[in-house]
């Protein structure tokens, strides 16, 4: 009995130590291909049905000047970084009910990591996003 309990504690400790919330390293080359899914509504350098992605990292949600956001996005207390993007891309309407981004999300964690890796590069590119 003692042995079984000790084993359970060890298994639990191992599970707790797993970085369940950590984001897998992303591949920006794959991420660029995944971004094709976003191009009905988004572009890097200019606003479309969705806001532009240049300057995305570190920007407050609803923070592109002049873009007409949903009230949910405009009032969200979120700053975009790898973690918040991962949560949003996994389930946009779950994280932010009322968002105009009526998209079920990207279920595959690795795909999200790849897309985020590419967005991190491209949204800060001086060619795509001149100052």
């Amino acid at each position: 009995m003692k042995h079984r309990a000790a084993t359970a504690v060890l298994v639990l400790a191992a599970l707790v130590s797993l970085p369940a919330s950590a984001i897998a390293p992303g591949d920006p080359v794959r991420g660029e291909a995944i971004y094709a899914r976003c191009q009905a509504c988004h572009a890097l350098g200019y606003d479309r049905t969705g806001p532009k992605h240049c300057g995305l990292f570190g920007r407050r949600a609803g923070g592109v000047p002049g873009f007409r956001y949903s009230p949910a996005m405009a009032q969200a207390d979120v700053v975009w970084d790898a973690n918040t993007l991962d949560r949003f891309l996994a389930n946009p309407t779950g994280m932010m009910p009322g968002t105009a981004m009526g998209y079920a999300g990207i279920a595959d964690r690795q795909e999200r990591a790849d897309l985020i890796a590419w967005l991190r590069q491209a949204s800060a590119s001086p060619i795509e996003c001149p100052p």
């Binding site: 094709a36 899914r37 976003c38 191009q39 009905a40 509504c41 572009a43 350098g45 200019y46 606003d47 479309r48 049905t49 949903s70 309407t93 009322g98 105009a100 981004m101 009526g102 998209y103 079920a104 999300g105």
Partner: protein
């Protein structure tokens, strides 16, 4: 023979029914339920209203993208870069997007919403469009994105009839994408699945 269909036919009665059940009548029912001390029933009625709002919001996002696609094809057709028969193809695809937009706007109104309107000005990457293939590649990117957008929207619709109708539009966008890839000399159907 191609039979022209109305993918939103199933909504012709449903729209009115859901509207009545989801807005004014629903709020009255919710108020009655609250007054009768039945908060669970009131909450249920409120969630129907939320469902309607969700569907209208998704439809309006789709409509916004369709209106932009119409403008994009107008830009492409007017660029002077497209030669027949590719030019005819662009005009035909633009016509499809006009049909999508019209039926989306009509459905939004049926559900009690207000359809978004076309912008006065759309921004397109015209500096990078120098040849027919540039225009085709740009259009293919929009169509490919549209497939993903509808694919991502279909599971979110609270009304199954709306999901079915959106899937019908998705099929058309996928055909556009394949034809444009073919015109570009690319594999028209590069994968077995879309995402």
């Amino acid at each position: 023979m191609i039979v022209r269909i109305n993918p939103f036919f199933a909504l012709q009665d449903l729209g009115r029914r859901r509207f009545l059940a989801g807005t004014g009548a629903t709020l009255s029912a919710a108020a009655v339920a609250l007054m009768a001390g039945r908060p669970a029933l009131a909450a249920g009625q409120g969630s129907k209203h939320d469902d309607l709002e969700t569907d209208v919001r998704i439809l309006n996002t789709a409509l916004g993208a369709e209106l932009e696609a119409i403008a994009a094809y107008a830009m492409g057709a007017g660029s002077g870069l497209l030669q027949k028969p590719v030019l005819d193809l662009a005009v035909q695809f633009q016509g499809h997007h006009k049909e999508h937009a019209a039926v989306l706007a009509k459905t939004i109104r049926k559900l009690g919403g207000t359809p978004v309107e076309a912008r006065e000005h759309y921004q397109f990457p015209t500096d990078g469009l120098k040849t027919q293939n540039d225009v085709l590649g740009f259009a293919a990117g929009l169509e490919r994105g549209a497939v993903s957008a509808y694919l991502g929207a279909v599971p979110l619709f609270r009304g199954r009839e709306l999901a079915s109708a959106a899937a019908s539009i998705l099929g058309d966008e996928a055909m556009h994408w394949a034809i444009l890839r073919q015109a570009l000399g690319q594999d028209p159907v590069p994968t077995a699945f879309m995402s």
